[in-house]
Structures are given as structure tokens and as C-alpha cells.
């Protein structure tokens, strides 16, 4: 069964079978405003926790989205190339950013659950 984790940087991860789908939270998309471009990672790219994985660009500014854990990119949400506003309208579903095969599942233990994330954003 899939389990969902959150980070203090306003990302969510849905983990199933050693693969995490990563996106930004609804709170984050609201803060960023209307997105006009998403720079997606290359397939096979090896990410280390804290690396910039994706850059999301609003009308006004570019913001980094960091790799929440170590792993290898297995898929990028290419529908965002034609419709980056999916991140605004469906941040936690169709607006996912990338999928990664986890290098070390024990890193998930350091992440937040939904209740802790909700407390974090207040």
C-alpha cells in the first residue's frame, strides 16, 4: 500500500514498491502562484537529498524543488511541459513532478507524516 510523506520544504512523496512520486503541496503551489514553466529532471539522473531536482517558475520568480531523499529519476511528469498549471490545480495528484527509485528507504523515517506537516504550516 502506498504511504505518503511530507517535507518541511512543502513537498509530498507517495511511496509504493520502492518508488516515490514527488510533488509540491497545495500550500506551496498557493505560495508560488500561477506556474508557467516546470524544468523537469532527466531520466536516470541520480539525485542526492538536497539536490535541486526541479525548478518551478511562476510569472514572477523561479523556485527550486529539492530531492527529499536519495534516488534515481525513473519518470518525469511530461504533461507539465504543455500545462504547468496542473501543479496549481492538482498539486497532489495530476500535478506530480517526478518519480524516483529510492536508494535508501530508511531516509523516509526522517520525513513528516500528514499531521506533522499540517502542524508545520500552522
Amino acid at each position: 500500500m502506498a504511504k505518503t510523506y511530507f517535507t518541511e520544504d512543502h513537498e509530498w512523496l507517495r511511496v509504493e514498491g520502492g518508488v516515490a512520486t514527488v510533488g509540491i503541496t497545495d500550500y506551496a503551489q498557493e505560495q508560488l502562484g500561477d506556474l508557467v514553466f516546470v524544468e523537469l529532471p532527466e531520466l536516470g539522473k541520480k539525485l542526492v537529498k538536497g539536490d535541486t531536482a526541479v525548478v518551478v517558475e511562476s510569472v514572477k520568480a523561479a523556485s527550486d524543488v529539492y530531492a527529499p531523499v536519495d534516488g534515481e529519476v525513473t519518470e518525469a511528469n511530461t504533461s507539465l511541459s504543455s500545462d504547468p498549471s496542473l501543479v496549481n490545480s492538482a498539486a497532489t495528484s495530476d500535478g506530480w513532478l517526478w518519480k524516483m527509485r529510492l536508494a535508501d528507504e530508511s531516509q523516509l523515517e526522517g520525513l513528516l507524516d500528514e499531521a506533522a506537516y499540517k502542524a508545520h504550516i500552522g
Binding site: G33, D34, V36, F37, E39, V55, E57, S58, V59, K60, A61, A62, S81, P84
Partner: protein
Amino acid sequence: MTGDDTKHLPLEDLHVAAGARFGAFAGWSMPLTYPAGVMKEHLHTREHAGLFDISHMKLFEISGSGTVALLNRACPLDAGALEISQSKYTFFLNEAAGILDDLIVTRLGQARFMVVANAGNAEADEKHLRALAMDFDAKVDALDRVFLAIQGPEAWAALSRGGIETGALLFMHGFEPRENWFMSRSGYTGEDGFEIGLPEADARNLVAKLLEDERVMWVGLAARDSLRLEAGLCLHGLDITPETDPASAGLMWAIPKEVRASSAFIGADALRSILERGPAQKRVGLKPEGRQPVRTGAALFDADGDPAGHVTSGGFGPSAAHPVAMGYVQTSLSKPGAKLFADVRGTKIPVDINPLPFTPHRYRKG
């Protein structure tokens, strides 16, 4: 947002009630966006009417028999040639012809003018004006006003419904419709529109009336920036600075020929020599290929990979539906057709020189 030197708009409570998200700009806490979001606010302005609180900008009234001479010294301007109610876009220049600020000057009477200055430069402008005024019979008054802009094709109709008739007023003209009011047909969006300086109590009444009209919505600073960028209008501090001059900035249209030849204004000699040898760089519109925005500070390169200039403003144009930018490039590369590349996080993005504006101006000139 409190407890420091940040300045607050007199109507801040209205923006809070409207759900604005605030951010710092030029020492002010400003509404950046409202719940509609930058995209909708931008498009609404081009289709209907956007209401902007621009009270961070400063109005100066200058009066006295030496006012024309003072303005002719401070700006590359023939203030005496302006008809009453006529406005003119002009600058304060330094001795090197660098742009200290860009301004709109409106003639209110024989020896009375209104000067509208940018927020970030208001204090320096006031000092500069007061120092110059000592050599002339001229009085400088910094006015305490709320300043509103209503912009878009339905701005005039919304004002009319709110009891303010604008029929006779043409683009780049201004007058005083009521006591302590100043209204001009001007703006920073490329659309028809108006800017109104008025006392706070009057402003609260006007805002309430305007917002009853479904054609009018609050628009924040984020959309103000994307609107002006599409319209090819400069932001002082980015696109024009004390290190750039009107010739490099492509703003010589603002300086009448006879004025260029005179030595009345500060910076005249420097500007003349820049014009004689030709500016080394020129401001141009830039259209990045694809959807990825190219932003302030990005370096530009020519086809051989040699430095060609830099981007001064950039973002996404909601009406243009593609990224838009402007910047300075070497004069030899400043023509449409030049092949340029912008460095964005290590990737070279092809960029075309694009004529400005990106979206056609729709001013009401008569």
C-alpha cells in the same frame, strides 16, 4: 511586516480584507497578488479594468514664477512648451546623463506643475528638487495622497459609473477635477487608463464605488510588473538606472530635438557626446524560445559564445502567452534577426530580439 522601517499603504486594511498577499517593494509593504492570482489579474486588466493601489509613488507639486526654469534645469524638457493639462514623460539625469529617475510631469497652470516620481527614488528626488529649487523662485510640495490607477479598456466606463467623467481627457493629459485631486489619463500597463491622486477619505469612497462594478478588480504588483513588461515600459532600478542614459535606453523620443541641442538641463553635455559617438549598448525586447522564462540578471551571448549583454527584466507574459524580457545588448546586435542566447542555470536558451511592446498599446490619443 511591522516593527521595522517598512512603509504601509494608507488603504492597507482594504487590501488585507481583499485577501492580498503582501511583499516588500522599494521600502513598502505592497499587495503582490489577490486571491484571483497574477494570471487572472493581468488578463482581467487587458480585458476589463484593473484597480491598483500605487500610493507608494510620490506626487510633488512645484509652483512659483521659476518653476519652468527649474524643470528645464532638472529634466531634458521644455516645460514652457507644455500646454496646460499636458503631461510629458521625462527624467532626472545626473551630470553623466545617467537616469536618476523617470517621471511624468504635468502642467497644471501657468507656473504650477505636478511631478510623479517612483517610490524607490522619492526621497532622493525630493532632496534633488529642493536643492535645485534654491536657485529659482519655486516651491516644492510633497503631497500626502492616496494614489490609485485604474487601467484597462473599461476603466473609463467604470469611472463614469462611479461619477467621474473622463470624456474630454486624452492620453498623457492631467488636471485637478476636485479639490486636492489630480487625475491623468496615463498608466503603466499599455492600456487606456487613469491615475488618480486624492485624499484618503475620498479614495475610500471611490474604491468602494469602483469595486461594486464587476468590471473592476484589485490587481497587485506582480501583475503590474508583467503588464508593464509586455508593454515594453521600463522599471527604474532594473531597465534604467543612474548607469544607463536615455540614448542607450532607447528613450530619446522623450527628449525634444531643440532640448537636445540646448545646454539647459543637467547632463546635456554628456548626453550630446554619447549621441555623437553612439551608445555602446542598446535596450531591446527579448523573446526567449519555448516556455522557460529568462529573468533579471541572465547573461546574453552571441552565436560564437561571446558576451553580448544582459537581461534587465524578464518573466512570463500572460497576454503574449510566452516568456517576455528586455535587456541591453551591444549596439551591433540590437537589430531584429540577431541570434542571441541567454544563460539560465547553465543552459543556453535561444533568444530573439523582439520589437517592443510585446502587446500593442491601446492608449486613447483622441
